[in-house]
């Protein structure tokens, strides 16, 4: 995977970052709000620090009729984006900051499921003065 370009941000400002996600064909992951408490939701989280992720926006899920649940199950499949809105602390000095995050997911196809996984993410942010 190529190293991502740093995201420009101003100290004291806000910034939005879109994280594209691509699933292997035939597989899906649960949405961020699955209808069954036992299903593992897709969850993007960022470590707290000079950046505060005050909102994560998930796309509109696809409703998939699956044999194990009476109503269609909201899932994500194919390629989609997860958007995070950050508030940048005014006290952050200019320069490059690597923001750690995690993407928790659990993938299935129509016949089998794979164990839940947590991907470690690093978001490079280039901070400039206000």
């Amino acid at each position: 995977m190529p190293k991502p370009e740093p995201v420009p941000a101003k100290a004291g400002g806000t910034v939005e970052v879109k994280l594209p996600v691509q699933l292997r064909e035939g597989y899906h992951v649960n949405s961020n709000m699955p209808p069954d408490p036992y299903l593992i939701p897709l969850r993007l989280s960022w470590d707290s620090g000079p950046f505060t992720a005050f909102e994560v926006v998930y796309p509109k899920p696809i409703l998939l009729k699956l044999g194990f649940f009476p109503t269609p199950v909201p899932v994500f499949s194919g390629t989609f984006e997860l958007l995070t809105r950050f508030k940048v602390a005014a006290s952050v000095p200019p320069g490059l900051v690597n923001l750690p995050g995690k993407l928790r997911y659990q993938a299935c196809n129509d016949r089998m499921c794979l164990p839940p996984k947590t991907l470690d993410l690093t978001l490079p942010v280039s901070v400039s003065r206000q």
Binding site: P4, K18, Y27, L39, I40
Partner: protein, 203 residues
């Protein structure tokens, strides 16, 4: 919400193209389907393990020798596994008096905190244990769920199914193995002509 207090101009939009996260399924196994018991001379001994059930009682797989066993690796978060649970509950009820047992090995990371209420909620009438990586590795690394083994009376793997298969497939395999009496004389590893088993049935 903070976003609503900000003027549109103050929000900078960036797309992190290069950081595309590819969620790739790490294991894609062929999905066996249909009735396909291995012949007796092709069957390998099932690895043994000991795990505790929800009451703390130790379940040792080799203690089930003499029975036909359906060993099911599953998890509470696995939708296809949920489809199979009523089938296995039915098999346990139907065949329990014919030297048959279902054993469920949950691969839930949270262990009994999650598994115990699920077992009660789904009225699972068979033995359930919580598995671990060590047990998974004994079976070549159980990565895809459900993974189900049908084990013969001699403790050998007669079939292995990765992923959801038809209820009928399990049923036929179980019934075929149950046809062989517990005390049937063995003839070694040579299958009888036209038979898929290494046993000669008594006349």
């Amino acid at each position: 919400m903070l976003a609503q207090k900000l003027s549109p101009r103050s929000i900078r939009r960036w797309t992190l193209f290069a950081a595309a996260v590819a969620i790739l399924a790490s294991c894609e196994s062929p999905i066996p389907d249909g009735f396909h018991l291995k012949s007796a001379n092709e069957r390998k001994a099932t690895p043994d393990f000991s795990l505790k059930d929800s009451t703390g009682a130790l379940i040792k797989l080799s203690d089930f020798k003499g029975k036909v066993v359906l060993l099911n690796f599953w998890a509470t978060w696995c939708g296809p596994c949920k489809i199979e649970i009523p089938w296995f509950t039915e098999f346990q009820k139907t065949y329990k008096d014919r030297d048959f047992a279902v054993i469920g090995v949950s691969m839930d990371e949270d262990g009994w905190d999650t598994v115990k209420p699920y077992v009660e909620q789904h009225k699972m009438n068979y033995r359930v244990v919580v598995g671990n990586d060590q047990v998974s590795q004994l079976f070549g690394g159980v990565d895809s769920l459900p993974t189900t083994l049908i084990i013969d009376r001699e403790g050998r793997i007669a079939s292995m199914h990765i992923g959801l298969v038809a209820k009928n497939t399990y049923q036929k395999e179980i019934e075929k193995l149950l046809e062989i009496p517990k005390d049937a004389p063995k003839t070694g590893a040579v299958p009888a002509p036209g038979s898929e088993f290494a046993f000669v049935r008594p006349n």
